[in-house]
Subunit: 193 residues, 2 copies
DNA sequence: AAGTTAACAGACAGGTCTGTCTACACCCAG
DNA sequence: CTGGGTGTAGACAGACCTGTCTGTTAACTT
């Protein structure tokens, strides 16, 4: 990890970088291996050396999305202050940022899961991501003193998924505000005890 | 519309029926025209007579899903009683039914939208569906006396989308209850004035 | 200088995709 | 009996898909 911030040097990084952009924009199934090769200026043999099957590239793509998105989620929560209640609401700022970003196209995990059969490696990875995020939110809800942390976490992640999923249809700028406000109501109601 | 309830007689119905099942299970892009033909026992020329392009078949599929799903939504709301507040919460029973049904695989519209480019006919149709549903919920929220009917409708449809979208990952039986409870909290908070 | 490694360039096989086309069978009205 | 409408059966074109394979070039190591 002595990677500088500039253009990716080695071939593997270039491939993954291109796949990240293209898979998110068109869905993994909508982008051929040849297209990734052409776009990243790499030889076919090189791609298949690092990612023996296309699914391996898709898995690496999901790992990258997981890193980036989960990182933004935690950063948004942290930026909301020390009170876990505020952090539960603050994580929705990550959704607002995502909605404003160019080329926003909804939740990469939901979109990808829709394209792969349940039971496949790729599908399992998307489920795993959602479980990890929900476990993190559950912990936050517990520290916020929620009556039923698991339930609150489920409600908030469902709301988050809804806000994200709606992005594949239409990046409506009203969505993030409405979602954040709803989160506040749910958090206040669940931490009343 | 003199259609009896039994097995679809005419070729067009058989095609659409098969497409409905297969497109929902694997995504429109994941099912070839040849597969639809083989499964519905129809000649290729017949399919292309009724649906000149595959996209026409996808649009017909979305129309059918819209009819069925929107119908279930309204039926669930109606079954919850006369109070519009209860109806806003009751429509989430349609989500519960969907989650319990065999082969449940999330929201057909979100899944399909992820597979088609924004700007395409198919993508536009998915957006239209969501707008129609939200307009209906907005009307319900207005009659429920919500302070800001548009906002409440947006929050509830986002919650609904979240519950639906999560279905593509994992048909968790806890989801519908948590969603319904969250809806109750949001409705009560928005109709306080 | 020789060998090793990484990468590029691109042909190729075998399959699937959409969409068009020809040829044939049936049935019912005139 | 004839002719139009509806359907079946399946070949075909042209594009695209994944994955394998052969050769070549350049850089670094010993």
């Amino acid at each position: 990890m002595v990677q500088s911030g500039g253009a990716p040097r080695c071939a593997r990084d270039r491939i993954l970088d291109t796949a990240f952009r293209m898979f998110y924009a068109h869905g993994p199934r909508g982008v051929g291996v040849d297209t990734v090769i052409a776009e990243s200026g790499v030889a076919k043999a090189t791609l298949y050396k690092y990612f023996p099957r296309k699914d391996d590239l898709v898995l690496a793509y999901l790992d990258k999305v997981d890193q980036v998105w989960f990182g933004q989620l935690r950063a948004a929560a942290r930026a909301a202050g020390d009170d876990p209640r505020d952090q539960l609401v603050g994580m929705f700022d990550a959704l607002a940022s995502a909605c404003r970003s160019e080329g926003y196209h909804g939740c990469a995990f939901i979109n990808t899961a829709a394209e792969f059969e349940p039971g496949s490696d790729v599908h399992a990875r998307t489920v795993e991501h959602k479980n990890v995020v929900r476990a993190w939110v559950t912990d936050l809800a517990r520290r916020a003193g929620a009556d039923d942390p698991e339930r609150l976490a489920r409600q908030l992640t469902l709301l988050l998924d809804g806000g994200l999923a709606a992005g594949v249809l239409d990046a409506d700028p009203v969505t993030p505000d409405a979602t954040r406000a709803a989160a506040r109501v749910l958090v206040d109601a669940a931490c009343s005890g």
